[in-house]
């Protein structure tokens, strides 16, 4: 990764995460923290982000700059039929995953639903089974996306790590919010792909 790549990716990674510091963005990009920290310094200097006490956000100017960069830097990606096809597949897996997150949180019963208190191992295992099957689909589809943008494999590592924690009984790692749960990482990946491909979220 060259430093000019990183000048772009650091701002992009921060935009995907919305707020954070060099460690979280380095983790998202799968690169080293020092290089990202240097890129943050240059981006702050250029007015593309602002930060205080280690937490940074993109400035409106930074967002506008990103919006100009995307169609240029990802022109090939956007014209790549295999990638856009993989993205359509990603959206279909996304629909299944959203339904899964809901089934994890609430259990349908008698025409209504109740909060899943995770007291029924059989029910939870059924959902974890589905998550495992969808994770395998995700591996294939993200693998195809990564042929065009290799850094996306970092998301697979993070998804695998969330899934592994779920298997170990850390129930928060399916759809928890303030942690790198499957849901958190998946949505960051979704946001990343939307930005790369110039799409908008359906919903």
């Amino acid at each position: 990764m060259t430093s000019s790549d990183l000048d772009f990716l650091a701002v992009h990674g921060l935009a995907v995460r919305k707020a954070g510091g060099p460690p979280t963005v380095a983790d998202l990009l799968g690169t080293d923290e020092q290089s990202v920290s240097d890129a943050f310094d240059r981006a702050t200097e250029a007015g593309r982000m602002i930060g205080a006490r280690g937490t940074f956000m993109c400035t409106p100017a930074g967002q506008a700059w990103l919006a100009e960069q995307y169609p240029v830097l990802y022109a090939d990606a956007r014209a790549n039929g295999q990638l856009t096809e993989a993205y359509e597949r990603f959206e279909r897996v996304n629909t299944d995953l959203l339904a899964l997150f809901t089934d994890w949180q609430t259990v349908p019963t008698a025409g209504g639903s109740v909060v899943n208190d995770h007291s029924d191992a059989d029910y939870d295992h059924g959902i974890i089974d589905r998550l495992g099957a969808l994770h395998e689909k995700a591996e294939r589809v993200v693998g195809r996306c990564a042929e065009a943008e290799s850094r996306l494999t970092r998301y697979l590592e993070r998804l695998a790590s969330a899934y592994d924690r779920v298997l170990a009984g850390e129930t928060d790692y399916v759809s928890g919010v303030r942690i790198d749960s499957y849901h958190t990482v998946w949505f960051e990946l979704h946001e990343d792909l939307l930005r790369m491909l110039g799409r908008t979220r359906q919903e």
């Binding site: 019963t109 008698a110 295992h125 059924g126 099957a133 759809s175």
Partner: protein, 595 residues
């Protein structure tokens, strides 16, 4: 009835017909529950099982089914044929089966179910004639091919959607895997059994076992069961019955069924279902039998049952039963009623309701009177709870104003990961678009924020700047600060009896306010509280802090860890509001220590 004789352990397959109840370790959880339902004298589709030991033999033989076990499987199929009057692969009277995995303990990562195995092109035509529904026959075939392709052949397919022909589905599987789904029913069966055994060694199953210290040397059983059809003309259908209402707790059984429906039609919610009264009117004898079964199953399990059934030409079949998921209100009522009915004892009843459920029951709720005229929006309820605050569209503004101490309701067209900080800062969330699986719904449920989604295009914008009360249980949004009613234990006869049982069993006293002249130790003031900057204190630290105190209070004393520490430190009284969830935590700690 129970027979676990020597012959069983030597048998290569075990016929399940109600005369034997082999151990769960031998035949796995799924087959065991089939055998248990049969042993109660209930009509369950005939089945046989390859015991767990066969998985070992298969894997040790280099992933191959030996001739002897394959002969035994064919004998099992012959037994199903004889009991059902149908034949595997015969279009004139087709026998279709389901194939399921099942280890002694439930475990994710193994092969899922394959349904309708045994279907062929000829049988599809025969089913079309038999049911008078060619679309159904084609769908059944395509579903089987999808399931077999997905699960057995590991094809990379999208999730199933109706409308793809069997031929096209077969081609999709072939194109992706290079393997054709077997056309001969026995080949399908052999493939599915092998896939179940193979799945014991799948990386996902291994990862799960590694985390939980379960030996790889075990195995899974394979259950093969006859499929029954709810769409074979008159007096057929499929449905779900709850032995009592799991949402209200009402004693009357609650059910839904779909005449002429099959499989997941009812559960999937895609068809208009009918209530139990229509079943009673149409087929009183069947209705009576179903009610008898529900009562038998409930007594046997000591808990409300969620029962799946199918009616095939006037004959009722029990497919599955499990303890029903109950709403918090119903959990209390049912626990008390089951005691009154002599089904369970009081000690058991107090373990049937969780402290979280009690907290939920005791949450303040809106006064249903005098609020309708203040309603300004309605949508889909996404996360229950009531909260009031000022409507704000911009998540950054929501975060900033919340940090200044304002109560904010985030109102947005839709939400994305870029809005999560605003959702965390808000007391409630309302969105224009999206349903119960939208990003907003998933995130607010994870955060426990009341939310209403799908109030309609442009509505959120109109709510900005107004004081709102959001009811995430009903899906309504009101203008203004709506008054809340506190839930008092004494207002509800079931809750007050439950509370008395819990109080009697609590190893320490819990009171709402500090007793006069008491010396109170306040954990929060010592910096040992929930949500403080530092890491949560260990149990040892808590016990040390609490030792010697007779009366204690603090946010951590509403948690299981905190209550356990208080009991172990010899605290006699906790000050907390409401008291009941804390008492229940104390009872649970005592029960866990005793067992």
């Amino acid at each position: 009835m129970t027979n676990t004789g020597v012959t069983l352990t030597e048998a290569r397959v075990v016929i399940l017909d109600g005369t034997v109840l082999p151990s769960r370790e031998l035949i796995g959880g799924k087959a065991w529950s089939v055998a248990r339902m049969m042993s109660l004298g209930l009509r369950v589709p005939p089945a046989f099982v390859l015991p767990v030991s066969e998985c070992r033999s298969y894997l040790d033989a280099g992933r191959s089914l030996d001739d002897e076990v394959w002969d035994a499987v064919q004998a099992g199929v012959a037994n199903l044929e004889q009991r059902s009057g149908r034949r595997f692969g015969d279009p004139a009277a087709p026998l279709l089966v389901s194939v399921r995995s099942g280890a002694a303990v439930s475990m994710p990562g193994m092969m899922d179910t394959v349904l309708n195995l045994g279907i062929t092109d000829e049988i599809e035509l025969a089913l079309a004639a038999l049911t008078g529904d060619p679309a159904y026959a084609s769908d059944t075939h395509a579903r089987f091919l999808h399931q077999f392709g997905d699960i057995v052949l590991k094809a990379d397919l999208d999730s199933y959607s109706a409308g793809v022909s069997a031929e096209a589905m077969r081609a999709l599987v072939l194109a992706d895997t290079g393997s054709d789904v077997p056309r001969a029913p026995l080949d399908q069966l052999r493939g599915a059994i092998s896939a179940v055994f193979d799945s014991w060694d799948s990386s996902r199953a291994k990862a799960y076992r590694r985390h939980w210290g379960i030996a790889d040397a075990g195995g899974t059983a394979v259950t093969i069961q006859m499929m029954v059809f709810g769409n074979l003309g008159e007096e057929s259908g499929t449905g779900v019955l709850f032995s009592r209402n799991p949402l209200s707790g009402d004693r009357a059984p609650y059910g839904e069924w779909l005449p002429g429906g099959q499989g997941d039609d009812v559960v999937g919610g895609t068809h208009a279902v009918q209530d139990m009264i229509t079943l009673q009117n149409a087929m009183p004898a069947v209705h009576h039998e179903l009610m008898e079964w529900a009562s038998t199953l409930e007594r046997e399990h000591g808990e409300v049952q969620d029962i799946e059934f199918t009616l095939e030409r006037g004959q009722l079949f029990l497919l599955q039963t499990r303890s029903a998921k109950r709403s918090p209100q119903a959990a209390v009522r049912i626990a008390v009623d089951l005691v009154d009915e002599g089904v369970i004892g009081i000690d058991e009843a107090v373990t049937r309701v969780t402290p979280e459920q009690i907290r939920s029951v005791m949450m303040p709720r809106l006064d249903p009177q005098h609020i309708d005229q203040h309603r300004v929006a309605s949508g889909e309820p996404a996360c229950p709870g009531v909260a009031s605050g000022i409507g704000v569209v911009d998540p950054d503004e929501a975060e900033r104003r919340a940090a200044e101490g304002e109560s904010i309701v985030l109102v947005r067209p839709t939400t994305s990961p870029n809005d999560v900080h605003g959702m965390i800062a808000a007391v409630a969330v309302v969105t224009d678009l999206g349903g119960s699986t939208s990003h907003a719904a998933v995130v607010t449920r994870a955060l426990g924020r009341p939310s209403v989604v799908g109030v309609g295009d442009g509505v959120a914008e109109s709510l900005a700047g107004r004081l709102l009360t959001v009811d995430g249980a009903s899906g309504h949004v009101y203008e203004g600060q709506m008054p809340l009613l506190e839930t008092r234990v004494d207002d509800d006869p079931h809750l007050s009896r439950f509370a008395a049982w819990v109080a009697e069993r609590s190893p320490l006293t819990v009171v709402e306010s500090v007793p006069p002249d008491a010396q109170v130790l306040d954990l929060d003031r010592l910096g040992l509280g929930v949500g403080t900057e530092s890491a949560a204190p260990t149990r040892e630290q808590l016990i040390t802090a609490l030792r010697g105190a007779a009366v204690a209070r603090g946010s951590l004393l509403s948690t299981a860890e905190g209550v356990a520490a208080a009991i172990e430190a010899g605290v006699s009284t906790i000050v907390a509001k409401p008291v009941l969830p804390v008492q229940l935590l104390a009872v649970r700690h005592a029960v866990a220590g005793a067992s």
